[in-house]
């Protein structure tokens, strides 16, 4: 029997339940919710976004923790006078900061070359001492100054100016304090770019984007939902890293959590936008990975994650400061370490907003849905 021969009735679904009416933002809300659920159910995400940065912070924090300077390692060349030089050093008040080996001329020089010794002391026949040190190596310069000072004092030199010393390693000025905001910024960039880039290319490959375009879904809402899914993760990322800093490394957070979250939100949205743009046309995971690395590489190097960017030549400083990660790191450091109010950071925030908005608009325009 052919169904076409039946009388044509106006299509009416056998509805047990009344239809819903969806509002303007229902698509956006559901897209965001779906994204969050997917992330939550993906164990790798939890590791890379949350656990990995914590491990990195702990590892680096321990490696670069502020500890009393290492003892200078000094080689004294064997000879008739070596005994005297050694006892002078050992009888000085600072003797605990020297590690002394008596070595043949040859092995002392070899050890110096290999970085095993910071300083080689070679006594000569007339009772004088010859220092062999490398002015380009800070620890070598330090060893020479300290050793000379110790020997002269032990031999009876009187200082003409009375001096005294105060040591400082306050929270706020240590390496870990510098590091944690930098890691936070880098993590917001990494997880924003990878999170959005991979998700997009994956959906494109699965033809899911094409399927979505077959519905009345607003395309801008889709991209916006992806970007804003980053906000929720951002809050957790910042919370975890700051808690780690405060609890384990006794960091002091000077600005309110609220301002820090605002900076974080701008960073997350900014890199969400850059991630969208980077992945706006790629068809394969491999090609998007390459692009992502290309975009992020300059920021890993120049934006002062692990070390201050002040060391780069001053000609490129304006370029460095225009990078979004630089702006984000600077803003996070200023807020967390110095408590600088957001209003005084407007130029950094403006850089973040500009990158985010321009990337989002370009992505919306160039985006390939199929």
């Amino acid at each position: 029997m052919s169904i076409a021969q039946q009388p044509l009735v106006e299509r009416k679904a056998t509805q047990a339940r009344p239809p819903k009416r969806n509002g303007r933002w229902s698509g956006y809300r559901h897209l965001l919710m779906a994204r969050m659920l997917e992330l939550k159910r993906e164990p790798e995400v939890v590791f890379w976004v949350f656990v990995f940065p914590l491990l990195l912070a702990v590892g680096l924090g321990i490696a670069f923790r502020n500890k009393p300077g290492d003892a200078s390692s000094i080689a004294i060349v064997t000879g008739p006078q070596s005994q005297r030089a050694q006892s002078l050093l050992q009888s000085s008040p600072q003797h605990s900061s020297f590690k002394i080996d008596v070595q043949s001329d040859q092995s002392a020089r070899k050890g110096f070359r290999l970085g095993k010794y910071d300083l080689v002391i070679e006594p000569n026949a007339t009772g004088g001492l010859q220092y062999l040190y490398d002015p380009a190596r800070p620890e070598s310069v330090l060893a020479k100054a300290e050793a000379d000072n110790a020997i002269q004092r032990a031999a009876g030199r009187q200082d003409v100016v009375a001096t005294s010393v105060v040591t400082s390693s306050e929270p706020g000025s240590r390496y870990i304090d510098f590091l944690i905001p930098g890691l936070l910024g880098m993590n917001l960039m990494n997880s924003g770019m990878w999170g959005i880039g991979f998700a997009l290319v994956d959906m494109r490959q699965r033809k899911l984007l094409k399927r979505f375009v077959g519905t009345p879904m607003r395309r801008g809402d889709f991209l916006l939902a992806l970007m804003s899914s980053r906000l929720v993760l951002m809050i957790i990322e910042i919370g975890l890293l700051l808690t780690l800093g405060v609890v384990v490394f006794h960091m002091k957070v000077l600005d309110s959590i609220f301002s820090i979250l605002i900076v974080g939100a701008m960073g997350a949205m900014c890199f969400g936008g850059v991630g969208l743009l980077t992945a706006s046309r790629a068809q394969k995971i491999e090609s998007v990975s390459g692009l992502m690395n290309l975009v992020m590489m300059p920021m890993w190097i120049f934006s002062g994650v692990f070390f201050s960017y002040e060391r780069f030549p001053s000609v490129i400083q304006p370029l460095i400061k225009a990078l979004p990660l630089t702006a984000l790191n600077d803003a996070l450091r200023a807020s967390i370490l110095e408590g600088t109010p957001l209003i005084h950071q407007w130029s950094r925030l403006a850089i973040l907003i500009a990158w985010g908005v321009v990337s989002f608009l370009l992505a919306l325009r160039w985006f390939r849905w199929t």
Partner: protein, 310 residues
């Protein structure tokens, strides 16, 4: 009856060289189930995606209920339900979440629970998509299309790769949508599917329609309604083929791999004559079957090839 889908002289050339669709005309009535039947690479997906407004044709016009994609795209999307040939829905969402997500894009979607019930997915509503069987996944894909309460349902190879039971389940769903007044356009390379499900179909090959009509009409046009297939001992040559053609009620003769196939109007006349002729020749039958002509035969007759060359 209103025209649901119409296209004129549709052409699509990929990258300036692959001519996937070469001048295709269609007119599909509201309430019809229309099928595009053709082998892989015939241009079915390209055609249906152009009609769905997902691909830009190189030239030609498309209108759906009198509207065109250029002017009314957003409105049209509200009442078209689409299932693509290969969409992989997110594996880590549940069936219900997926349907709710698609429902959220439409102004007035159907209640998700209704769609779940209709597609027999209620039991699986809280299972992750990644854990579904092939048939269940395909039903979910159709559910995402039906949740908008569409006027037209586009299905691109809805049952490819499914087991017989899942195929029948989907056929039932499609029929029940049609009974409610819906229009269906589907593509398939299964002739049995086209034969059972479609009111009318177009056979597509190399981007062109080579035959169009109801399955019964197409088969009728073949001449014979039955096929008598047999093999004999000894070589059959061209002269033998002519002898078979001369038998009563035989329309045409084909030889395929040593198997001779007679297209026959009335088997009760042809078979006795065949046996008699074999007796005279002194050769004996190795094999004899008769069957009704199918769309496969139509395709073979028109193109000299089989629909599925696997």
């Amino acid at each position: 009856m209103a025209t649901a889908i119409q296209c004129r002289d549709l052409r699509k050339t990929y990258d300036g060289k692959v001519e996937a669709v070469r001048g295709l005309n269609l007119e599909i009535q509201a309430g019809e189930c229309f099928g595009l039947l053709g082998p892989n690479g015939a241009g079915k997906t390209t055609t249906i995606e152009i009609l769905e407004g997902l691909l830009e044709p190189t030239s030609g016009q498309v209108s759906i209920f009198g509207r065109t994609w250029k002017t009314d795209a957003r409105e049209m999307r509200e009442w078209l339900g689409i299932s693509l040939q290969e969409t992989r829905l997110s594996e880590k969402l549940t069936v219900r979440e997926t349907i709710n997500l698609f429902a959220s894009f439409y102004r007035e979607p159907r209640a998700s629970e209704d769609v779940l019930e209709e597609l027999q997915l209620t039991e699986k509503a809280d299972a992750w998509v990644g854990k579904l069987s092939g048939g269940q996944r395909q039903r979910l894909a159709v559910a995402t299309a039906l949740v908008c309460n569409p006027k037209i349902l586009f299905l691109d190879e809805p049952t490819t790769g499914l087991d017989p039971q899942s195929r029948r389940q989907l056929w039932d769903i499609i029929r029940s949508f049609q009974r409610g007044g819906g229009t269906v356009l589907l593509t398939t390379h299964y002739m049995d599917e086209a034969e059972r499900l479609c009111d009318r179909l177009a056979i597509v090959d190399h981007g062109q329609i080579i035959a169009e009509g109801s399955p019964a009409e197409l088969i009728q046009r073949l001449g014979g309604h039955h096929f008598v297939e047999f093999a004999v001992t000894g070589n059959s040559d061209g002269a033998a083929l002519d002898a078979w053609r001369a038998l009563p009620s035989v329309d045409s003769v084909r030889e395929d791999d040593g198997m001779i196939s007679l297209s026959v109007k009335e088997p009760h006349l042809a078979i006795p004559a065949l046996l008699e002729a074999l007796g005279k020749q002194g050769s004996s039958l190795q094999h004899l079957t008769t069957r009704q002509a199918s769309l496969e035969d139509v395709f073979v007759r028109l193109t000299g090839r089989h629909l599925r060359e696997d």
